[in-house]
């Protein structure tokens, strides 16, 4: 993950193109809602829905990883936390690492849980 985040151009485009996919996916859900309706059959047996939801979840986790990493490196820094207190500022790097570990674990759990509910 550390190496991926060093390519700012890649993550910048990944976050924006994933957002375009989200809009297309939501338009598809909206269309289904107003035409055939969101039924149990649709959620469990429609392979187009199951595949596109799986891609949605994986891209959402990548999109969130990039966004949360950006937020962390913007605010959980020695300088920004220094506006609140010097002792917080001193432990900024540790706090940011803990925050990054938490959202990485949560993101992986969300992806694994969703994919297993969709397909198993």
């Amino acid at each position: 993950m550390g190496n991926v985040m060093k390519s700012g151009r890649l993550t910048w485009y990944l976050q924006r193109y994933s957002a375009l996919y989200f809009i297309l996916f939501l338009a598809y859900l909206e269309y289904t809602f107003w035409t055939s309706g969101i039924t149990f059959q649709f959620l469990t047996s429609d392979n187009l829905f199951k595949a596109s939801l799986s891609i949605f979840i994986l891209l959402a986790c990548a999109h969130a990883y990039i966004g949360l990493w950006t937020v962390g490196t913007d605010y959980l820094t020695k300088r920004t936390l220094g506006f609140i207190s010097p002792s917080l500022s001193a432990s900024a790097d540790t706090l940011r690492k803990i925050y990054e570990a938490i959202f990485t674990l949560l993101g992986a759990s969300i992806a694994i849980l969703y994919i297993s509910i969709i397909w198993f």
Partner: protein, 134 residues
Amino acid sequence: MTFVTFLMTQNRPININLLKIKLPLSAFLSITHRISGILIFFLVLPLSILAFSELTQNQDSFDNFMNMYHTNFGIKFGCIVLILIFQYHIFAGIRHMLMDFHILNESLSSSYRSAVTTLVLFAINALLTLWVML
């Protein structure tokens, strides 16, 4: 003091204290876009797993969830709030993308206008969402 007048009254390079400046509307949209994104990841997505697993277990649990949604106002209200947070992130996100790809101008006046437009469109969308989901 706005961010811009703050910069104009200072003649020397200084560190901007993010906690002490009054945000322009476009900055308000930017920070609330971030906050809604954080809420989606830590609240909406985890709770949606519960709903999705209930909805896909079997036909009975699907009907049970739908029945609960229509009879328990707390559940209905919670679902609507979570969906509005998600929609807010999308509306503000579309504006950010239109700026990133240079379709919308990033000047102060035009970003103010696009911020107002985004908030108005989101308000209309929120009313439509309430109308459909209530």
